[in-house]
Symmetry: C2
Subunit: 193 residues, 2 copies
Amino acid sequence: MQLHKRDVIEAATAILDNYGIADLTMRRLARELDVSPGALYWHFTSKQQLLGAVADRILSPVCAESDIGHWSDRISRVGVRLRDALRSHTDGAELVAASFAAGQSQAAAEILVRLTAAVTDAGIETGQAVLAARTVWYYVLGFTVDEQARLQWDAAGASAVPPAADPDRDFAVGLRLLIDGLTVRASYNAPVS
Amino acid sequence: MQLHKRDVIEAATAILDNYGIADLTMRRLARELDVSPGALYWHFTSKQQLLGAVADRILSPVCAESDIGHWSDRISRVGVRLRDALRSHTDGAELVAASFAAGQSQAAAEILVRLTAAVTDAGIETGQAVLAARTVWYYVLGFTVDEQARLQWDAAGASAVPPAADPDRDFAVGLRLLIDGLTVRASYNAPVS
DNA sequence: ACCTGAACACCGTTCAAGT
DNA sequence: ACCTGAACACCGTTCAAGT
């Protein structure tokens, strides 16, 4: 049976979900697929590129989402769906953050474009819109990396920091803070009515 | 000559500055200190703990900073000083982000406390203040990780994404966005005058 | 108390050689 | 075109034994 990119990404996602990012190694992945480690390098030029493909798979439900309505609803929706997508895979936020930093996730770039469009519709000028969109991105990724890290602490039996009572509400607080900030910024650029 | 924690942290910082986080390994560090790798485990229980100590060293100038003035100035100042501290070491942001996620940086926790105090002084209730402080933290770390990652791309000769013309100004935009958001949130809690 | 030496169980990546 | 086998140059961590 021939090895295909899709099979590799699927197997990698399975390891991630079941064992976490620390166990997602090229050798372990090859073993799971019953091939030699070198075989993976026929299909991917590096581990980073492979992880980028996994990141794109994780983010695909966010990209598939419709993008209509008021700008603030669009930002909220992307934020919430993004966090959901990350949380549906063990260490999903960490993997996506790493792939984004390495410039290996096309889907991450696409989500940033959509956030930028929503910010622009709020009435922020283009130059600042990209920066504001990134701020939202950093927030969602940072919050979720943190959230998933705390899960590991609990699993490891570290009861020093108790888990948040209502993480969904906590997440919404920061998101609203950003949207409030955008509303203020936009009002400076608004035409005098 | 006896090996002390301080020497180890100093040597680790030197490797970080000169070669980056990828080269900051326990074995490499031991070689540089002319000891066997096992010797490091007498002074530190794990690599994560050692990196946490390096993170604390990187963040120490931020903790030493005075903390007076209007709440918004205090947040700006911590943000700017934090970014400066991270940027004065190769991969500084990545190292601190990792140590924070692992719960190994005491200095990071202290900075978060200071940010929370500033947010509280803005007139935000305690529960939300911690969340808002974290939002600022995620922003500064996310922005700077990104900024330092782009430096590596340039060094590697990837001219696809041109470097930002004025990163200091770009950084200020996101910071002001957050402060504007805090002002709005605070006004809801403000006593009717 | 502090450190060495050596081992254990791994890594990512490359590449001649096979089919 | 696609993959194997084997190597290269590494990792973090542990622990008996030395001083």
